[in-house]
Symmetry: C2
Subunit: 239 residues, 2 copies
Amino acid sequence: MTSPTRKPQDGVPAPSAPERTAPLPPRRRDARLNRDRLIASARTLLAQHGVDASLEAIARQAEVGVATLYRNFPTRDDLVRVLYDLALAQLHAVRGEIEAAPTPWEALVIYTERVAEWLVADPSLPPILRRMAVLEPSARPAAEFDGFIASLVARAKRDGTLRRDVDAVDLAVLVTMVGSLGGLGAGYAGQWRRQLSIVLDGLRAADAPRPRLPGRPLNVKEYQATVHGLTRRAARAAL
Amino acid sequence: MTSPTRKPQDGVPAPSAPERTAPLPPRRRDARLNRDRLIASARTLLAQHGVDASLEAIARQAEVGVATLYRNFPTRDDLVRVLYDLALAQLHAVRGEIEAAPTPWEALVIYTERVAEWLVADPSLPPILRRMAVLEPSARPAAEFDGFIASLVARAKRDGTLRRDVDAVDLAVLVTMVGSLGGLGAGYAGQWRRQLSIVLDGLRAADAPRPRLPGRPLNVKEYQATVHGLTRRAARAAL
DNA sequence: ATTATCTATAGATCTATAGATAATGC
DNA sequence: ATTATCTATAGATCTATAGATAATGC
């Protein structure tokens, strides 16, 4: 069961699970290209159809034979894991930014902004995260931030910028919520900064001053366009 | 085109589209039962697998032959439309409640609460609404509230309870956002009142007093359970 | 020489319908 | 008698793999 056939030099940093058969970066140029195309198509189709998206369709859109997909990702879940790991690597980069913030409150703002942005930017994430929660219950995307955020929350409460009746989990839920705007169509996705700002004002201590809201609300026509799920491009044109 | 074969007494309130061939309530007892079972199964499976859920699987779970499904809903889109209309009828009932509210602010609170609750309660709604946006771009679930809410927003700004830099569309987006918690697993869904309350505090004029947040935040263990997508039952047990 | 790709294919599942059989309401 | 259900089935699409063919790197 412990893949005794694996060659020793396969010891590439196993991203999240300890015993994962990490698909090594393929050595051949064409292989690497195909892999990238497959990943891109997978993102598109998972976003559209959820985790059950047809693997054949993914290969087709990547202009690659199905067998190539199976060679790269023997199982649907392998594909999901790889997409998860790639996304997680992106999120990881945020940590430094948070630590660089001058005040606890600003650190929390950056945390919520970056995580929300991360979610909004990739509508394939919600299905991927849901599936990963099943595959690997112990892994949670923002787990590496947990302790850190908890301490920021405590400090922000102490210095009177964060209201005292919320905690780190509320923040996590709110961020997830804002991030879900990405899945609701392009127009919604464009609104996330504004909505996050309103949420942050709800989290701020009552006597702390509010900054100006970013952006402007959609007008009814734009909202129509949004709800009707136009492409990102069309939505921008409407704006 | 105007379905001349329809009998006159079929004049059931055509829910959203004017010219819809409304599937009449079937007359035979077993037929009605089967239809209800199909609708229930459809809700479950659409929530799980999205609009592309297998029709055969829906029939199977309803313990009914596929042909029965096709008889009731000749097309997948017919099924979606019916589910949409049923959901919309539920939402419709909210109107009276909003109108009965003593102040504009309280009316807005009821509006957001009820719509969010409506969304959270039925995780099949997001896929259904997305699909309907494609099928019938002119139909929007909360369209009937538009004018009404706009006037509430204006009045609430005037009396100093709602911040002046937001508008009705912001409210709609925020509500949709909170409602999306239903699709994120049972634990999240249980948090929506609390999160909505925080959002409302962000919408309130800065000098208006804040009420106490409802509920309490999840602790880390519960949050874990939530993220791992346990059943509603298990999540409650964890609480 | 090695590594990866593609084509072809078996078996499963899905959509959609035709035709035979069963249940209901008048 | 009417209305609805079920079984069976054709054709499409999907998953997963075997085996023949092509592209790369040393």
